[in-house]
Symmetry: C2
Subunit: 83 residues, 2 copies
């Protein structure tokens, strides 16, 4: 079994209204040191042994987990003992 940690973030230059809203809230809570906030997705996939693992992960992400037009992604794969 493999544990895949996927990090999806908005591309540089893409407007991040959610990040702006979070920053606004933090400022109103007197966290004035916060200069910028970017909000993305962190997804854990537990996947059984399969051929072309990386290719399969890339296509899962491209087709469903991230929007390739406005989002970037990276992922890490580690083998885990299935419970």
């Amino acid at each position: 079994m493999f544990k895949v940690q996927v990090y999806v973030t908005l591309k540089e230059g893409v407007l991040d209204p959610q990040g702006k809203a979070v920053r606004g809230s933090l400022l109103s809570m007197n966290y004035d040191e916060v200069q910028e906030v970017r909000v993305g997705k962190y997804i854990e996939l537990f996947i059984e042994e399969t051929e072309n693992l990386d290719e399969r992960i890339d296509s899962m992400i491209d087709q469903l987990l991230a929007n390739p037009v406005i989002e970037d992604y990276r992922y890490e794969v580690e083998e885990v003992v299935s419970n």
Copy 2:
């Protein structure tokens, strides 16, 4: 300037309807190897030098970015050159 990478995930045992929905979609797209999906948040904070940085980050997360009742979090801090 500090870049803080925050990872927010649901606690073990907490129902993850979003994760279940994503898994269902992946199965319908013939990614049968996917056994489980957990969906969380990945947040980047850019913060100016401040006293008690870790304490301030913990309280930002506890108060706004994560729900301590059902979510766990971890974060990494790195110093960056502000642009």
